[in-house]
Each structure stands twice: as structure tokens, then as C-alpha cells.
């Protein structure tokens, strides 16, 4: 098991390295205006000498490959540079914001699974009945309704009918858990709506597949009740693709956290990215992009490893 994990980690090194190259050179070359000029034009440096000093301070002198190597070296030691505008360390700001985003994303995915798995199971168990059609129809609807629209409706009608508005001041989970949960529960729930559609459909097809297997017939034949058959035999064997789909949905949920942090004024990584993009705050943009990229690479490793955990056959064949 640990051998598999190590193997998987080693394989992800080129991807992670590739990500740093992609992000650095994409942001430093493809952008038509010089992000650095822009930043310094709006900062205090109008005289060339001061600008040169600032460029050196931020490590923006010399040819691009040299800058890249310097930047990579600092990242490896945990230093993501500092903001052009506030001068604050990007690393400490990121560390401060990551828990908020992770809480939102993980909470949304968990909530969606709690809704989708029972619905998918029911849909498959009562195949081609009215509940099945209802679940399948609503699955597509869940996917099609944009989360930010639901959020807008909640904000508009919440204030019209209940005189409710989201709190402005954010309370972290470790400071005031109850206030934090009251604040985050609604965005979590709405963000969790769009993954539900795909999950229902996937659980349904998967359960139908498993129901056709011989061991299900055996389980029934030896006299197990419906409940036992479903929970002990069917559900467990349908879990593998659900793990995959959760992995596949992560990019969508991550994107969702960006939007929902903006709507509900939560100080997460997504808000950090949006704010910095507007000001062309180079190191912040690079660091947040890297963060999201790393997150997905890491999530894929977790998915692969949990595969091996759920299904021993994968572990054995990969040797």
C-alpha cells in the first residue's frame, strides 16, 4: 500500500513541475501588457531608479528563465513572494485563507453526497417508475441551474421576505464554530447543489450494473432481506466510481468556491485570486493558480489511493 502511494507521489512530480513552468511562463509572456509595469505605475515608483530598486526587491530582473529558477527555488523553500500592493507575504496570507476555502468545498461535496447517494439508490431500486423518472429529470436540472443564480435568488428573496442578509464579518471556524457554521452552511448547501445531478446519475447506473451481478443474486437466494442486500452488497460495490466522480467534480467545486466566496463575502483563496487579478498582482496570481493546480493533483492522488484501498485488485495489478 505504502509502496503504491510512493509510486503515485513520484509520478506526480513531473506534473507539478510542469504546472510551475506553465503558470510562470504563461503569466509572464502571454499577457500583452507588462504586468510589472502596470503594478509599479500605480505604486509609488514613478522615477526609474526607484522602479529598478523595486524590481530587484521583487526578483524581477534578468532573463525570464533565470527569474523562473529563482522563483521556483523560493517556492521550494515555502516562500511564494509578496504582494506588490500590500507588501504582505503571500504564503502567510494563503495559509490564513486556505481553511475557509477547504471548509466550503469539502462541506459542499459532503452535503451533495448525502443527498445524491440515497436518491440514486432509490432511482435504481425503483427503475422505470415515477420516482426514477423524477430523480433522473431533477438530476439534469440540478446540473443546469447555475449555483450563482440560486445564491442571487436567496439573497434577493431572503431580504425581501425575511429581511435577511449574509453577515459581513467573517468568523473562522476555530474562533466561533457556531457563528461560522451559521454563516457557511447556506453557501455550502447551494454550492453542493450542482454536483448532485452528476452524482445521482452515476450512482444510478452503477447500482443498476451491480444489481445484475451474480453475487447479488446469491445474496438474495440465501435469503437476505432487501435492506441487507442493498446496504451490504450493492452499495459497497458501487462506491468505486463514486470516488472517481467526486475526484472529477473537484475542479467544478473549486471554481464554485471562487464564485461563492465572492457572493457571500468569505475570505478564501478564490477571493484572493479575484482581487489580485484586478490589480495584476503577479505573485499572488501565480501562487493562487499554483494552489488550485496542486490541490487537483493532490486530489487525484487521493482518489487513486482510495481506489486501491477500496478495491484490492487494483493494488495487486499495479505492482
Amino acid at each position: 500500500m505504502s509502496k503504491y502511494l510512493v509510486q503515485r507521489l513520484v509520478l506526480s512530480v513531473p506534473t507539478v513541475l510542469g504546472l510551475t513552468i506553465l503558470i510562470f511562463f504563461l503569466l509572464r509572456t502571454v499577457i500583452p501588457i507588462d504586468a510589472v509595469d502596470f503594478a509599479f505605475a500605480s505604486a509609488e515608483a514613478s522615477d526609474p531608479k526607484r522602479e529598478q530598486e523595486l524590481r530587484e526587491e521583487f526578483g524581477l530582473t534578468g532573463p525570464l528563465p533565470v527569474q523562473y529558477v529563482r522563483w521556483l527555488g523560493r517556492i521550494l523553500s515555502g516562500d511564494f513572494g509578496s504582494s506588490f500592493f500590500t507588501g504582505k507575504s503571500v504564503t502567510s496570507e494563503l495559509l490564513h485563507r486556505i481553511p475557509t476555502s477547504v471548509e466550503l468545498g469539502v462541506g459542499a461535496l459532503t452535503l451533495s453526497l448525502f443527498i445524491a447517494v440515497p436518491l440514486g439508490l432509490m432511482s435504481a431500486a425503483k427503475q422505470d417508475s415515477l420516482p426514477d423518472y423524477a430523480a433522473r429529470g431533477s438530476a439534469i436540472l440540478f446540473y443546469a441551474v447555475p449555483g450563482f443564480w440560486v445564491a442571487t435568488l436567496v439573497l434577493v428573496f431572503g431580504s425581501l421576505w425575511f429581511n435577511w442578509a449574509p453577515p459581513i464579518k467573517y468568523r473562522p471556524l476555530w474562533e466561533d464554530p457556531i457563528a461560522n457554521l451559521r454563516q457557511v452552511a447556506l453557501p455550502m448547501l447551494i454550492l453542493g447543489l450542482s454536483p448532485i445531478g452528476t452524482q445521482i446519475r452515476l450512482v444510478r447506473t452503477q447500482v443498476l450494473e451491480v444489481l445484475r451481478q451474480d453475487y447479488v443474486r446469491t445474496a438474495r437466494a440465501k435469503g437476505l432481506g432487501t435492506r441487507e442486500v442493498y446496504f451490504r452488497h450493492v452499495l459497497r460495490n458501487s462506491m468505486l466510481p463514486i470516488v472517481t466522480v467526486v475526484g472529477l467534480q473537484l475542479p467544478g467545486v473549486v471554481a464554485g468556491t471562487v464564485i461563492f466566496e465572492q457572493i457571500f463575502v468569505l475570505p478564501g483563496v478564490g477571493r484572493y485570486l479575484l482581487d489580485s487579478v484586478q490589480r495584476l498582482d503577479l505573485y499572488v496570481i501565480m501562487a493562487t493558480n499554483l494552489f488550485f493546480g496542486f490541490l487537483l493533483v493532490f486530489a487525484n492522488i487521493v482518489v487513486d489511493v482510495s481506489y486501491a484501498f477500496i478495491d484490492p485488485r487494483i493494488r495487486l495489478t499495479s505492482r
Binding site: 443546469a144 473537484l250 464564485i259 487579478v277
Partner: protein
């Protein structure tokens, strides 16, 4: 295109028995299609209506999309303003029509560009295989490790949003992921006997790729385009919502819902309803139609 082709898919090549008879055949084929795929055909109908409205917006729209009238601000729906008006007195129905036009135009452009790039990458990479394919796949791995919306917000935020930049950047962000799906089909088609037969009669690589393989992966490209269109429309709307849509005064379905309008939406809630309903309907329609298309074009994939 889809509307005129759909019946053919169901009946195959109908022999011409005179005009009246073939018309009846088509009517019957259409009816059978509606019975077999009611949801998919409902999706097609929605798409046709929206596409018609978007295409002929300048003719249908009762007002101009940037015509402001301060005497008729924030009105509720009425006969003269079917969807009401916004905070500048602009007709919401007109703005939705133009918004759909802009959103569909950008999304369609981006998807066509993305799928073209993806198909070229997929065919060359899948056909030649070897180190080229391995290298290409590693690059795709790296590119899709970045969530689409993140890289879009970054690039569009830095470059600036115009219809052109939106189309180009969305296509760029989508192409690598799309190429992966198409490549997997190319790899299996490459081994088919008819490709070998083509090679045996002396077809060169280019001919093999574009006359033998391309026609046999076209159905995947078409089906995946409809589904991708649905998700790209959502992405365009999300970008608009975050303030990276087409610049004002052009209407943007996502932008119409964004934070700036919130105070006005509280005074005129209909403003919060129409853009969302439109986006939802279109995305829903693309998905159910895409599913039906997949079943009809490739029965092997049915139900997957």
C-alpha cells in the same frame, strides 16, 4: 443543422418515392423520434426557440438593448414590457434576447474552435502514437490540472474581456481536455480493419487520418460538442457574473445577475428571475439533447 438531420438518423437513407410520400415518411420518423426521445426532442425544441430568438434578436426585440428611459424604470412585466424593465428603464425582454445572442455566439465560437484544435491534436497524437503521443498526454495532464474557471478568470482578468478574447481563451482552456476524449476513440479506430485496408491500397498518413479516421470519430466530436456547449454556456455566465463578461452596455446573462444589480433586484425581483431562467433552460436543453444525440449516433454508448 441538427433539426434537418435528426430524422435521417432514425430512418437511414429514405428512398425518394415522390414528394408527398417522403414528407409523410419524415413526419412519421419525426413522430417516432419524439416518442422514443421525448426529453431530447423537448431540448431540441427549446434550443430552436432560443436560437431563433438569438439569431433574429434585432428583428424580434421590441426595443433597443441600450435604449434608456428614466420614466419607465424597474417596471414589472406588462404588455408593453413582457419581462419588465431594469434600473435604467431598458426593456428586459430585449436584453435577454441580446444576452442569449451574445452568450450563444461566444459559446458556439469557443466550442467550434476548441473542438477543431482538440480533433487535430487527438488525431495526430492518437494516430502516430509513440513518444509524440506520450509527450502530448503529459502536457494535457499538466494543463487540465488547472481548474478551467481559475485559468479563465486569471487570463481574461489580465488580458481584458472582449468577445474575441473570450472565444480564444475559452477555446484554449477547453481544447486539451476535449482532445483526451477524442484521442481515446482515435486509438481504437486506428486498429480497425478498414484503416489497415486503406494503408494496403497505398493511402498516405494524411489521407488515413482525414478520410478514414476522421469520419469515424465525427459522432464523438458532435455529441461531445453539444454537451460541452452546455457547460461552456455556464462558464460564460459565471465569468459574466464575476464581471468578466462582454463589457457594457452589451447585455450579459451572467452579468445581469451580478452583485451590482442586487439593490435593484430587491426593488424589482423579476430582474433576478429572467437571466437565470434563460441560462438554466439553455443548459438543460443542451444536456438532454446531447444525451439523445449520443444514443442515436452511437447505440453502443446508450445509458452510459
Amino acid at each position: 443543422m441538427a433539426s434537418s438531420r435528426a430524422p435521417e438518423v432514425a430512418v437511414g437513407q429514405a428512398p425518394a418515392f415522390g414528394r408527398a410520400r417522403s414528407a409523410r415518411r419524415y413526419a412519421r420518423a419525426t413522430w417516432r423520434l419524439i416518442r422514443r426521445k421525448p426529453l431530447g426532442m423537448a431540448g431540441l425544441l427549446i434550443l430552436l426557440v432560443v436560437a431563433f430568438g438569438a439569431l433574429f434578436a434585432p428583428v424580434i426585440a421590441p426595443y433597443s438593448y441600450d435604449q434608456t428611459r428614466f420614466t419607465s424604470r424597474l417596471l414589472s412585466p406588462s404588455w408593453s414590457h413582457p419581462f419588465g424593465t431594469d434600473n435604467l428603464g431598458r426593456d428586459t425582454f430585449t436584453r435577454i434576447l441580446y444576452g442569449a445572442r451574445v452568450s450563444l455566439g461566444i459559446s458556439a465560437g469557443a466550442v467550434v474552435l476548441a473542438k477543431s484544435i482538440a480533433t487535430v491534436i487527438a488525431i495526430t497524437s492518437g494516430f502516430y502514437g509513440g513518444w509524440l503521443d506520450k509527450l502530448g498526454q503529459r502536457l494535457v495532464d499538466i494543463w487540465i490540472a488547472l481548474p478551467t474557471l481559475i485559468i479563465l478568470v486569471t487570463l481574461i482578468g489580465m488580458i481584458g474581456s472582449s468577445p474575441g478574447s473570450l472565444v480564444a481563451i475559452i477555446a484554449l482552456a477547453n481544447a486539451p481536455g476535449s482532445s483526451r476524449v477524442i484521442r481515446s476513440v482515435v486509438v481504437s479506430v486506428r486498429e480497425e480493419p478498414y484503416v489497415e485496408a486503406g494503408r494496403a491500397i497505398g493511402a498516405n498518413d494524411a489521407r488515413l487520418m482525414f478520410r478514414y479516421i476522421l469520419p469515424n470519430i465525427a459522432h464523438i466530436v458532435i455529441y461531445s460538442s453539444t454537451v460541452t456547449l452546455g457547460s461552456v454556456i455556464l462558464i460564460v455566465a459565471s465569468l459574466g457574473f464575476l464581471g468578466y463578461g462582454v463589457p457594457p452596455p452589451h447585455p450579459d446573462l451572467g452579468g445581469m445577475l451580478s452583485g451590482d444589480g442586487l439593490t435593484f433586484m430587491r426593488r424589482q425581483p423579476w430582474l433576478a428571475v429572467w437571466p437565470g431562467v434563460t441560462i438554466t433552460l439553455v443548459v438543460f436543453a443542451f444536456n438532454v439533447f446531447g444525451d439523445a444525440l449520443r444514443d442515436l449516433l452511437d447505440p453502443r454508448l446508450r445509458g452510459s
